[in-house]
Symmetry: C3
Subunit: 330 residues, 3 copies
Amino acid sequence: MLKNFTGLPSKEKLDAFKGIDILGAPQFTKETLETVMNTAAYYEEKLIAQERLYDMDGKVMAALFFEPSTRTRLSFETAMLRLGGQVITVAEAAGAQISSASKGETLHDTMVINDGYADVIVCRSPQTGAAQIAADAAKIPVINAGDGAGQHPSQALLDIYTIIKEKGSPDGLTVAMIGDLKYGRTVHSLVDFLAMYKCKVVMASPEILAMPKDIVAKMETKGVKIEYRDNIMDAVKDADVIYMTRVQRERFEDINEYNAVKDMFIMDGEVVKNFKKDAIIMHPLPRINEITIDVDEYPGAAYFRQARNGLPVRMAMLALVCGVVGKGQK
Amino acid sequence: MLKNFTGLPSKEKLDAFKGIDILGAPQFTKETLETVMNTAAYYEEKLIAQERLYDMDGKVMAALFFEPSTRTRLSFETAMLRLGGQVITVAEAAGAQISSASKGETLHDTMVINDGYADVIVCRSPQTGAAQIAADAAKIPVINAGDGAGQHPSQALLDIYTIIKEKGSPDGLTVAMIGDLKYGRTVHSLVDFLAMYKCKVVMASPEILAMPKDIVAKMETKGVKIEYRDNIMDAVKDADVIYMTRVQRERFEDINEYNAVKDMFIMDGEVVKNFKKDAIIMHPLPRINEITIDVDEYPGAAYFRQARNGLPVRMAMLALVCGVVGKGQK
Amino acid sequence: MLKNFTGLPSKEKLDAFKGIDILGAPQFTKETLETVMNTAAYYEEKLIAQERLYDMDGKVMAALFFEPSTRTRLSFETAMLRLGGQVITVAEAAGAQISSASKGETLHDTMVINDGYADVIVCRSPQTGAAQIAADAAKIPVINAGDGAGQHPSQALLDIYTIIKEKGSPDGLTVAMIGDLKYGRTVHSLVDFLAMYKCKVVMASPEILAMPKDIVAKMETKGVKIEYRDNIMDAVKDADVIYMTRVQRERFEDINEYNAVKDMFIMDGEVVKNFKKDAIIMHPLPRINEITIDVDEYPGAAYFRQARNGLPVRMAMLALVCGVVGKGQK
């Protein structure tokens, strides 16, 4: 069994997922989160053992990507194929008019129709709230693969899965969040999960990219200890997990303001030297220059492992909502 | 067995389809039409029973969509996957240059080559007559999924399938066709099928969007009773089936003319009150505003069911031309 | 067994391919080339016998096409599906920004991540050297499906496969290469393979599109006899194999120079009359006007057969690098 996980959840816990939509991090309790984590670990073991799975045999996933997100799409598609299922795909190019929507079809109508084709829908949209509209329209389960400024639960789940897999229970951990904490959808969802555990969060960002106050307030209400640091060197020194995000030039109205801070949140070999023993670095990828290439050699550079964790986590999500976890075992 | 259908056709009737191309409604006789209908009903029963099918096991369908038509493409792809087959896809974006054709490859050469890859080709093109070119070039069966102003037989087949499934034999039915009867490819193909039965067709459209005279003449020759109505209220009152299409602004040179008629062919709750008992509403989708959302609640609002009927109908088309209906049963 | 081939290679020869990348023609020896040829012939026999294969059962191929190349993509995808495997696809439209690369992701990072999804990567890029970068980043095998002005080994392999299948061993053959020998990537790779055999190469091209001198020198070092001809009539008369490529207007700075030569390298019915008995015509396709349609009827017009040979050749490439040739036999 994979370290830090407790094995396949009980039938009761698995059955509780059957037919539900997965729309965002806030819908999870600690119990349902741990059901996903342990199911993901179950599938990761199967992947490692190179077992041929039939859990989704005969089933079809509709991947409806109304904006490009190649990595997320390929990860979901591979997850379905590795489960023994099949995939139909809409992959809109950037800036393309939305397929039938170019003829004016509403997302609601699109979903009612796809409902008749597939067993599960994975939906990506540039429009915040699109996943909820999709879920309301379709009788089959809908998984939100990102809806604008809204939620992206598979990313949040693979982030917390990575922390548990690499460091064990988040209880007692110090997690540093560095870079753009205002617009970074991934850190907002991650704190929803971290708030279920007793952990400390250290934040370091340019002032105008600070974590929004309502999220900070919510975290504090739930008992998360929060500390602020001015620079990356201070932020990493007592962290077990360092979650990097990119400081983008487009976020700044004043170029001088950007130039003043742009080099303050770069992870390089010098910063790594300041780490606590066994600290890990995470990043939702793609990275540009906020993590230098030399850091890739550091054993705690977990971001590629993190991306790959998307596969078992998405297998778990798909198999749970379709109620087929372990059903294909022969 | 599904109501209104007569069970799997005889081996002889099934075999008659093996290897043929399905290019348009006009190629059908009443007998071959009913073979498709009953085969579709056979597959719909399998879908309802959630049977895992192997009829297309090991076979590959090439979906060559040289213009976007997401719904039709997904429906054909799902049909192939549900039959146990596999799919390769070309899905051109709107306005894109046609793949290899951007290097100047002709449709003929493209088809000769794809002939060597796949077991069946499903072809969509903006160019009228493209399906015939494809069929002439390829030795394997070609199914026309729409060629410009030409034919779109899978839509026509799912339309007549919906009528039979919802209302029984078209014999004796009154079918109202409302909206744009001039440019609407779907109503032109549907009348080819209706002309095989003893039914009455009621038409209501703006004058400049009336059914073309040659089609009307052909219908009358075949014994279809035709009546004209000025408005939607009159058109629906004795109809068993109401087939709606959209009146598009682009069709009018004079905006005043458009404004004068645009609200005359809208299906809303008031119009539904004028219906004969158990009348059904059909629409090829996507709809814009020609059917208001409140109508969706009416039990006879059949347009989403109609769209879903595309799946068993396309399964039947694919399995018939590949000669594999029922072949995968274990 | 297919004529001109010697049956499935020994286990030792097959095993030598397991886990390797196939990046270009130069990496092959005569022995490894013949392993691919005989494995391709093995799979062609399976295709002819319509055997359902399971060699790739449970495996996933990532088709990463960062520029459009529909024919090559469909051929690789079909190859994987016919082997019983599954496919995930990125198919960028012409001129599109490269998927995640639009967010700045490097090819290296993309490959490290895809490495975690798939069992084999097939990569196409407009950038020369991209395949090497991909291969360095990914632990799983990478097959180059064309990288800019670089290599395109599956085309080169299907070309030599076609020659062997149609004419037997290249030893003693005269191969005429006609048209653009300067920019034509396919003829450059083909001569790498021809140089392994004792054959004569006859070249006819506009002066400014002559075979690059370094390639000619390399061929002569390896003992290939080379002759030059001024026109297509002379070039074909003693050839066993005539390999046509297109003379493109864009290659000429001076339109008068183009006009002077453009009709000199067209294959039509008159040229065919000058052929030696049983000579074959090859072309990488798509053709525009460099082979007239009437030539298609000539029995030695091998270009469509050549394109179809891509299927067994790509099946062999995929199965060899994944180490599964014959593994799925039941």
